[in-house]
């Protein structure tokens, strides 16, 4: 068998873009090695998403009702489906959840795994996964030598290409099994805004914003663009914003299509988290700031003037 099994992800009952990205990537791999693409969604409402996934190449869309997220429960359920489908390749999102269950799934399936892949190609019937290493200062290409080849894939790293798959809907009887970690409560007070990890646009503020009272200037631009709000460590350490917004080595690694850095110097630890963004805009008073070395578009100016002007300009064109 040379099938590809993709694990998708939902958020608040909606299909995350990564599900299509991985299905599309899975389709390309399956076409190269001669197999089918099965996309698994953890939901009791799989019919609602089958069309979207069929349109990007899913031959089968499998709904598994594993209840609320738990890494053990998801790993048990996904492994049961792997045992049934016997795929050659498994693609999982390198999301907060994916990172956790993938590690358990790999061990259960006795598979090698490359985590946080940003490039997938096929050579001699095997997948070659490219991943940034050493904070993006080098890239490595790996093949997995076990029977099942597993990968977790970074959001926004794969293109979504229309291609019709069979799109057959299946409901899996896989269960979460024994879960030994019980969720007691959740605090999602930051929950409704766009999340950094899979945002396709991020607007970030650094020490250049001068104080927490000025976040609205950055947030306005983010809201106008439907972007997530990021921050440098300097602003987090100063207590201006919570650590969950921090981008960088000791914060989140992000790969948006567009990263707008406002008043951020571009320290190496910050670049480690956002250096793989496709387009980078830097707005900084200091023309020698290291951020300009990676910026696609550099604006040497005062952010307190440029950012509000940018917001109103975007408001005009985006309606």
């Amino acid at each position: 068998m040379a099938d590809v099994l993709v694990v998708g992800e939902l958020k608040n009952g909606e299909l995350k873009k990564i599900s299509k990205e991985l299905t599309s990537a899975g389709r390309k791999i399956a076409d190269a090695i001669g197999g089918k693409v099965h996309t698994v969604l953890i939901t009791d409402n799989v019919d609602a998403f089958a069309g979207d996934l069929k349109a990007v190449g899913a031959d089968a869309v499998i709904g598994a009702n594993l209840g609320e997220f738990s890494p053990e429960g998801y790993a048990n359920g996904i492994f049961a489906i792997i045992q049934e489908k016997k795929p050659a390749v498994v693609l999982m999102p390198h999301s907060a959840q994916g990172k956790e269950y993938s590690a358990r799934v790999a061990i259960k399936a006795n598979a090698g795994i490359v985590a946080d892949a940003v490039g997938l190609s096929v050579d001699g019937g095997k997948v070659v996964a490219k991943k940034p290493i050493y904070s993006g200062k080098a890239y490595a290409n790996f093949k997995v030598s076990s029977e099942i080849q597993m990968f977790t894939v970074r959001a926004n790293s794969q293109e979504v290409t229309p291609k019709d798959g069979a799109g057959a809907v299946e409901k899996s009887g896989a269960s979460a099994g024994e879960v030994r970690t019980k969720s007691i409560s959740k605090d999602l007070s930051g929950g409704n805004k766009v999340q950094l990890a899979d945002a396709s646009i991020i607007v970030s503020g650094g020490r250049g914003i001068k104080g927490p009272e000025n976040w609205p200037i950055i947030q306005d631009l983010a809201d106008t663009l439907g972007a997530a709000l990021g921050a440098s460590r300097a602003t987090v350490d100063a207590g201006w914003i919570s650590h969950s917004h921090q981008v960088g080595q000791t914060g989140k690694t992000v790969s948006p299509n567009c990263y707008i850095a406002c008043g951020i110097s571009g320290a190496i630890q910050h670049l480690a988290g956002m250096g793989s963004s496709k387009y980078i805009v830097a707005i900084n008073k200091d023309g020698d700031a290291p951020i300009f070395k990676v910026a696609t578009y550099g604006v040497v100016a005062d952010l307190f003037e440029v950012v509000p002007a940018l917001t109103s300009e975007f408001k005009k064109v985006l309606g």
């Binding site: 890494p71 999301s95 959840q97 990172k99 956790e100 590690a103 358990r104 790999a106 061990i107 490359v114 985590a115 946080d116 050579d123 940034p132 290493i133 050493y134 904070s135 200062k137 080098a138 890239y139 290409n141 790996f142 997995v144 076990s146 970690t181 969720s183 007691i184 959740k186 605090d187 999602l188 930051g190 396709s200 663009l225 650590h243 969950s244 080595q249 000791t250 567009c258 480690a272 250096g275 496709k278 387009y279 980078i280 300009f292 070395k293 910026a295 696609t296 578009y297 550099g298 604006v299 100016a301 003037e305 440029v306 509000p308 002007a309 940018l310 300009e313 975007f314 064109v317 985006l318």
Partner: protein, 253 residues
């Protein structure tokens, strides 16, 4: 309580990385303990300070990994074990987790703590893989840990917020920034760390089945799309140019 803390040696972020064919050129690289592992060491020591027991620092790597264990000693761990592997396994999480899980099994630890990821590979795999191999629960991205006998209450980071979970020891934990403030090794600690014994284990003794990854090649990062500084007379000029560039040239907004 018996606590194992996992300590990985990684190149300092500021270090220049020179890419070789299948591994980096290590000449001139400055090595540090992966920052998240410092939270793991600190948490291990804090648990012992509260509940008694023993903290064992374990590092897998070539000879130089001993330096990381000396630092762990200087911070206050009780024992150190060096899993000495000279070949290139730094990327292979399943091989690493197998060696470490086999070692931890023999030690019969109540808690294994590592960083949420190591900053050289960013894979977030090893500690949870160890949990799976030991057939124990895990708490990833821990921000707070409380033990009440075997019962464990933890706060952890999840997408968009935090979650309180309950589980029980034995378990594995990955440390997120915010779990604690790692202490600096004292001078006295550093001096006495030099003389402390480091137990060396070879992969053969730990019986791993071998690597499941093949490094095909290493390469420098892909070239960035050439950047340019925009020229404008005022903020309004910058704004309209940027909007145009992002919408018509980059087509990202």
């Amino acid at each position: 309580m018996k606590i194992v803390v996992l300590v990985k040696q990684v190149p300092d972020t500021e270090t220049n990385i020179k890419v070789g064919e299948k591994s980096i050129n290590e000449a001139g690289v400055k090595w540090i303990i992966s920052p998240y592992d410092e939270f793991a060491i600190e948490e291990g020591i804090r648990i012992r300070e509260k509940s008694g027991g023993e903290v064992i620092a374990v590092s897998l790597g070539p000879d130089r990994a001993v330096e990381a264990l000396r630092t762990a000693y200087a911070m206050g761990v009780d024992r150190a074990i060096h899993v000495k592997v000279d070949d290139y396994v730094t990327f292979d999480s399943t091989y690493t987790s197998e060696l470490l899980a086999n070692l931890i099994k023999a030690e019969n630890a109540d808690v294994v703590i590592g960083g949420r990821q190591s900053i050289d590979t960013d894979s977030s795999q090893v500690v949870v893989q160890i949990a799976e191999r030991l057939n124990v629960p895990h708490v990833a991205m821990a921000l707070k840990l409380e033990f009440d006998g075997k019962k464990v209450t933890a706060t952890r980071e999840i997408e968009g917020g935090t979650e309180v979970v309950e589980t029980s020891a034995p378990l594995a934990v990955t440390a997120q920034k915010g779990l604690n403030e790692p202490r600096y090794p004292s001078l006295k600690g550093i001096m006495s760390a030099k003389k402390k014994p480091v137990d060396v284990k070879k992969p053969e003794e730990l019986g791993a089945t071998g690597s499941k990854l093949e490094v095909v090649s290493l390469e420098p990062p892909p070239p960035r799309i050439a950047g340019r500084k925009l020229e404008a007379a005022d903020a309004q000029g910058f704004a309209s140019q940027l909007v145009k560039a992002l919408r018509e040239e980059a087509k990202v907004i």
